[in-house]
Symmetry: D2
Subunit: 173 residues, 4 copies
């Protein structure tokens, strides 16, 4: 239920392979870094200047499993989710905020191609092995705080904790 509207719609390409983790109950949580491109006319030069915006996407439940399995660096994807800002403590003890686009059972994810980055033509075919990095988070992308935490759900001061979802962890979506 909602007494408001909170909706985000994005189409862009993945800057890297999905980062798949699992909750203690075995539910997938997938992070994506999504680039949306825009260009605008520079008033000095009159030239069109490309501009890339990077978005941090978090998927839960079944849509997370599909994303983790089929999406790869470079994949074009449609995302429908909601904005959520999480508070966490930096190593200096100060508050930090990270805004993410959360895709849960109310959201949507549509693969618009399935190209991996190996140059392969695996159109519509699942990648061999879903990437899973439960122990070693990748370096954070531009525009997002460093992610140095250990396993999912073990945030600690001085690192960015993982997102939590509103839904019951025991019941798969």
């Amino acid at each position: 239920m909602a007494r408001g509207v909170n909706k985000v719609i994005l189409i862009g390409n993945l800057g890297q392979d999905p980062d798949t983790r699992y909750t203690p109950n075995g539910n997938a949580v997938v992070n994506l870094n999504l680039a949306t491109d825009e260009s605008y006319k520079d008033r000095q030069t009159g030239q069109m200047v490309p501009k890339t915006e990077w978005h941090r996407i978090v998927l839960f439940g079944k849509v997370a499993e599909v994303a983790g399995q089929y999406l790869r660096k470079g994949s074009k994807v449609y995302i429908e989710g909601k904005l959520q800002t999480r508070k966490w403590q930096g190593q200096d003890g100060q508050d930090r905020y990270t805004t993410e686009v959360v895709v849960d059972i109310n959201g949507q994810m549509q693969m618009l191609d399935s190209r991996g980055d190996g140059g392969g033509m695996n159109q519509g075919a699942p990648a061999g092995r879903p990437q899973q990095s439960n122990y070693n988070a990748p370096a954070a992308p531009q525009g997002n705080p460093q992610q140095q935490s250990g396993g999912y759900n073990q945030p600690s001061q001085g690192s960015m904790p993982e997102p939590v979802d509103d839904f019951d962890d025991d019941i798969p979506f």
Copy 2:
């Protein structure tokens, strides 16, 4: 032009009066703090738990002027804009990131009522005087970083700089 899609749609209420500033060229730039409400079922208690998400909105051009003039704390509003993340330096010299919903000529703002917070019934009527705080930013609401900068376009290290828009500052939207 865009080779991607970057769209945010929100309906919520203002947590405080709009913060109106002006660029050197006299164009309005308005910041809003918008709350969207949601509720979800707590799995322990089975109760519905209300949850408020706060969004930082930045309006440019004509829509900014209208927002600054007619919106007030408590106003219900429809916002259509795009996600944008800005990088700035904290007082400790470290990088910080703030994600905002930018409403420019491609976006939309719809007043869904015009209630001020004084309990007045100025339904559909303009507020007496548009609030303008070019010298003293209000404290940030829950879920958003503190805003301690001075006037618009004078960011300094240790404070959060103001957003900049892609559009020609001299040409009103």
Copy 3:
């Protein structure tokens, strides 16, 4: 599941009270006539010309019950649904098509006020009695075909049949 995206987002006002009907299984099906206003500059006169677009909305399940109970002629409402075109036979035996915005469990309905048309101030309060017209449909508003059918689920040639939803009629949404 969907391999495409089909989404409609509207904010407007009801041209008349909701038309509530029930399936044989007791599920509510509500029809709304929603007006969205726009204005554009006439190139002859240079004047802004108002233009109203009428939309036929069909709600199913729980959201239908809420709509039927709380919405009234004049109510402002947010609608999120999908486009659906139904084929039916006119009295002359020829095919007709009606496009509707369908709001089911994947959609959303948000009351933006609860004004009835009696000029009452029942803000946020339920109307006394949900209107139900299972036997006598109101005349269609501007921009929509006449609705002359009998009870729900008894379409006949020469009238516009009622919409059907994809979902199991026995299981409430």
Copy 4:
């Protein structure tokens, strides 16, 4: 300007090549037939049943030119526009209504691939010759009324007139 919200977002595939026409002033007007796919669970069989919805899209201005040039039967496309219902007279003199998704300067069109239907790999490359049928309208697709009119802007009773846009015809978008 708008005092309401009227927005449609679609991702689907073209059922046929675009139909490009020109106004007397030389502005392109392009019609698309777009299929969006969905599937739902049949309650009798428990099977997933595919369901296709067809949409009539009308593009104006620059986005129309791009669509006419680069899209082909089978192309996947993102459409953002508004709902509009047009009234016209059937050959029997009776009123008919056709609902379209209008994409003008406020809308958006994104090619999600550029595949033509000849099986060619013209990825991102313009098709040899933009289809133009100013004299001979194609048979109407399923889910849409027959289109039997002559050239653009010469509707007559007994046929479905072409759509008109709110914008000044002389000024390219």
